[in-house]
């Protein structure tokens, strides 16, 4: 027995390929959409991975440094460091802001990293160019997505930083590229608004009789000095000793230091479960719509292809072709269309992914699921056409 579907496809291959490519573009969009979601989740995960921490110590009853603002004293790490099971504790600050380079500015997350040597929690775990920060001030390691290059001078608040290293895929949970600067600079950057704001605050303080007393010289200076220093950080990153479990180490901090501590799983839950939950649902809706649209289009294409062949089907039936053979022909054509569409879609999505401003992660499991979904959709879509083909009266062939 020859393959009727195969012969038909070979006969009209141009139509099939072009329809498949059209469908493929749609499938590509769907895969990319899934990739956008995976990218968002991955943004959260690399953020946690790159911090190199096992525990995040944050202000009591806040949702960590990423999802909510948190502020704790910057000398707290010392008491945490002395707790049993703690291998390393490092201050860290996170601040999302606009950073200027020349005329343009870029939205970045400025990470203040504790002084130390490369490998300390919070430091970029690997670079793609340049070197790690060695000076305690005014050096920066920037993500390549910022567009900065080695040796660039960038403005953060009123200080200029030299870019000495570049990273890749160091992003905040919302996909903003990171810029790493020394902690002390970051604390200052987080506090400093701009020179005007400082001047105005200074003037307000001066106008306050309580601080500006003629009989107490020096009081005003002391007050202003205390206003312009910032001894807070957003979180303490804790790396635990291998023989301890995160729970064991977290418990005394939670109980005795009266702080909130998150471990990796909880942090992921916050980032993936809370921070991007709405966006994820948004994308899920899009996926559903795209799946329905794809199904409708496949159904429509298969229906049209079958409609074109109604006479041939009547003849086939008249000369004794089994219904199964005819249904199989339509089904095979739908599946072939789906396979062409999937291949084109996968290729399109892969080449389109790097063009997106945010990270698009195409995972093999998504591709496999997508492939299965495409085949299922094709099968479902061909049902209409098959039903119609089976209803064709063989008598139609006899000019009646």
């Amino acid at each position: 027995m020859i393959s009727l579907a195969g012969r038909d496809i070979l006969h009209a291959w141009g139509k099939f390929i072009f329809t498949g490519i059209g469908l493929g573009l749609l499938i590509g969009v769907t895969l990319t959409m899934a990739g956008v979601y995976r990218g968002m989740v991955d943004d959260g995960k690399v953020l946690l991975d790159n911090s190199g921490a096992n525990l995040w110590v944050v202000q009591k009853d806040t949702l960590g440094p990423y999802a909510e603002s948190s502020s704790i004293p910057d000398d707290l790490w010392r008491s945490i460091r002395t707790l049993p099971g703690v291998a390393e504790a490092a201050n860290v600050t996170y601040l999302t802001m606009q950073v200027g380079r020349g005329q343009k500015d870029v939205r970045v997350m400025v990470v203040g990293i504790a002084a130390g040597e490369p490998g300390t929690s919070g430091w970029p775990p690997q670079l793609v160019a340049g070197r790690q920060i060695t000076r305690g001030h005014y050096e920066a390691v920037a993500d390549i997505a910022t567009g900065f290059r080695l040796g660039d001078e960038v403005n953060i608040r009123r200080n200029r930083y030299t870019v000495v290293g570049l990273t890749r895929r160091m992003v905040s949970s919302s996909g903003d590229p990171m810029v790493f600067i020394p902690l002390k600079d970051a604390q200052e950057a987080q506090f400093l608004k701009d020179n005007d704001a400082i001047l105005m605050q200074r003037r307000r303080t001066e106008a306050n009789r309580a601080f500006n007393r003629p009989a107490v010289p020096g009081l005003l200076d002391a007050v202003i000095a205390s206003q312009t220093s910032n001894n807070s950080v957003n979180a303490v990153l804790v790396r635990i000793q291998p023989e301890y479990s995160p729970r064991e180490v977290a418990e005394p901090i939670r109980r005795w230091k009266r702080l909130t501590v998150y471990d990796r799983a909880q942090m992921e839950e916050i980032l993936v479960g809370k921070l991007i939950a709405t966006s994820a649902r948004q994308i899920a809706m899009f996926l559903v719509i795209l799946a329905v649209v794809s199904a409708a289009i496949v159904a429509f294409i298969i229906y049209t292809l079958t409609m074109d062949k109604i006479r041939e089907i009547a003849v086939l039936k008249l000369i004794g072709t089994r219904n199964r053979t005819i249904a199989g022909m339509i089904l095979q054509q739908a599946l072939v269309l789906g396979v062409i569409g999937f291949v084109v879609g996968k290729i399109t999505a892969t080449f389109a992914a790097p063009l997106f401003p945010k990270y698009v992660l195409l995972t093999p499991i998504d591709s496999i699921l997508g492939f299965v979904a495409v085949l299922v959709i094709c099968v479902l879509a061909s049902i209409v056409a098959i039903r119609m083909a089976l209803k064709v009266d063989p008598a139609e062939a006899i000019g009646g």
Binding site: A115, R168, I347
Partner: protein, 383 residues
Amino acid sequence: MRFPRLQRQTLTLVAVIIPLLFLFIYVALRSGPLAPIAVTVSTVESRPIAPALAGMGTVQARFTYKIGPTVAGRVKRLDVHVGDTVKAGQVLGEMDAVDLDDRISAQQAAIKSSEATLRQAAAKEAFAQTQASRYEQLLSVRGTSEETVVTKRQELAVASAVLAASREDIVRLRAELEALRAQRGNLRLVAPVAGLVAVRDADPGTTVVAGQAVVEVIDTASLWVDTRFDQISAEGLATGRPAKIVLRSRRSQGVAGHVLRIEPRADAVTEETLAKIAFDAPPVPLPPLGELAEVTVQLGELPAAPTISNAAIRTVDGQRGVWTLVDGGLTFTPVVLGRSSLDGLVQVVKGLSVGEQVVLYSEKALSAKSRIHIVERLPGVTP
């Protein structure tokens, strides 16, 4: 006619399908998690490094003279302005005397009055002296009674005492006058050293409390940079080390200096070591006090040792080390790091030997099972 057509159709189909399939396979293998990770490698070299410390500081004057009155009062005149150069002993201004001159006049009058009283007491004492010696002679010739002589002696003693009291009174009054005069002289604000007027806090007519500075004079020869170094990287900081000072307003040029002293007290809150860096020669023009300066202290050059870039350092399971390339596979080698230089080179004390290949840059985190792809430069990085 028959065969070519079919063949052409098949060939065109193949021509479309094959590239699509190749693309698909390429896409499946070369992108996403299955793709090999691009890395660059570098060789461990033996080289000397010159460690240096970087710190931030502000320009300060070592000696600042805050000049003001010792008693509360009103500023009468002030001859200098901010930025004026002054000499040692130069009068900078004066406080208002208010009633001090009148009190001096009154004191002088009181002294004169006391002198008159003294003269009177001296006359009385001389008369009592004369009377007393006359009655002594009369008694020796029995010309008068014993009792009268005793009376005269007592009168002489009283007169002597009154005279002595009057004399001391004058001494007191003169001392008081001197005190008033000293105070009068102290109203002048005098520069103790040659220097530069940095602050002028009050203008004539302002009332100031005792001890409040009216003018601040700095010793220009004593400018230094009050510098803070992170404790964690302050190893090797020592007095006398040469330093390069870059002022914020003059970023292009550095000024030579040296470590003058390391403060015995560190800043416990900010975890910084404090040090004073003196200029080898005062910069011209003088930088404003409080200006930010970047200080780089050169430490002695260390002997050659295996050296890597700090970009090669990774942390795996809490251990610091590097990924070494052995027979094309990756091995994580824990290392003990030594001193590092500001340009990112770090010496390896233990764990690596010269000539080993280590992964320098990588696109993403590596593991021992990672498939790698060695490149000259990572994609996306412009030279």
